[in-house]
Assembly symmetry: D2
Homo-oligomer: 152 residues x 4
């Protein structure tokens, strides 16, 4: 992604494992971590002052195009979870987040993940934020801690 820049910004959320997130192995089902990552992204963006729900109202969606997860240790019902989310790449058409999930009292690393996203419109077509939504593009760059380069 040639138009991406290192943009390490981080956020932390805490929550407990819901019973409905466990499976017959007695631990959290591996698919249930993905909505957690989504919560991490939501709160990171909100903390920077631009709720994702506002982006959606403007017609800017962030489609997930890649997910990678590595599961290190299981989580059980009612475990206190700490999720750290970082925005690590921020480009004209894509952005990338990294995640680390911990047991919040033992600090044991439970899982690590990464998601890659594309900006798309309501019709599913790719958006180029810099030219199509320059005010959002500028704002997100500020959120990512990157000086605006003027778009294209």
């Amino acid at each position: 992604m040639s138009d991406a820049a290192a943009a390490p910004t981080g956020d932390v959320i805490r929550f407990r494992v819901r019973y409905a997130e466990t499976d017959a192995m007695g631990v959290v089902h591996h698919s249930r971590y993905l909505p957690w990552l989504e919560m991490g992204r939501t709160e990171l963006i909100r903390a920077r002052g631009y709720p994702y729900s506002e982006l959606e109202k403007r017609g800017v969606l962030m489609a997930v195009i890649e997910v990678q997860m590595r599961y290190r240790a299981p989580a059980a019902y009612d475990d206190p979870i700490r999720l750290e989310t970082r925005l690590v790449e921020f480009g004209r058409v894509k952005l990338r987040f990294q995640y680390r999930i911990y047991h919040d009292t033992t600090d044991r690393l439970l899982a690590e993940g990464e998601t890659l996203h594309a900006f798309i419109g309501r019709d599913g077509a790719p958006l180029r934020l810099a030219s199509q939504f320059p005010d959002i593009w500028q704002r997100l760059q500020e959120i990512a801690g990157i000086p605006s380069s003027g778009g294209t």
Copy 2:
């Protein structure tokens, strides 16, 4: 529901319990039965020649406004499930389905349920099918096995 009529029509679908549907008790989580009921409704309507996805394209949504479930016996991963769905009420603004869920090889009754639905538009406002979508109204009445009374 004064405008409803008895409209017993039935359908059966079969499927297996997914691992992701189980919880730490080792059985299917009680919330996971609700998507099954939705599958039953979908297939009942499709079998009558009017896929629900077509209704949605026309702007006719069926919002769930009530759910009742009684859980009789647990279901486990990979269990073969048989779901019987009946449309039991069909009125101008609401319709009601009843469901019975069985273990398909033992015939043990696992759960019974009922859902009540309202027709709404994309904006969430109630629709009166008979006057606003008379062709759909007539078609759904045929599906329900009720002679059309002319609407409104």
Copy 3:
């Protein structure tokens, strides 16, 4: 339920709607409210000093045997939710909770629900707490605000 007594105790939790809880109607899928009710029960019991995870470790499970939901108004992604949970019946073999779900800033009632539970063991067989786990029975009665009547 002749052995139950009115035991109104209440609790409130607040959280936001996750994106993964929405469906193609743009609102929270009706099945997704059930895990919320479970969170309400979990926090009500924890607030009284007896985490449900502790009950499970002792081999006392609370199986859901009935659910009733009435959906009043839709909830959308990122909406702030307030869930009020009350323990309304507490008997030797069953207990009943009632729930009211609100949009936390508008105070609009979104849904009401009720769940009925039975105490069962790891083998799925019903437990009679009063005789089989008298210490848990006594503790839960205190939680419910009911003076212990000595069990059996």
Copy 4:
């Protein structure tokens, strides 16, 4: 994974998208593909004559330790889905599956994925199938189409 061998075996399952699997973007939520992959593995193993539920009864669990997904095109409610599953690595402690998900009537590739698994016991500790469960190890090797090399 030095003890793994190329073991291309394949299987195909077909199903429809459930309403509960969609999200507010109007398409299948990205987390919902993971239970599909699980169905693919389940049916691949069953087709070879060894249901995963049997493995679990013997105390042999297949924990997911890595997931990679690439999403190519969205899937909508009621879309007919075709999932192709291949067992591509089969070693003493790990196994790897690859998946391709298609729209079944247009043959459009919707997503590709890969999962890596470890054999673990009920206590979560790694198992070495070849020495601890030689009969299962031999049977799984036959399933994978690899001649048994004697284990350890």
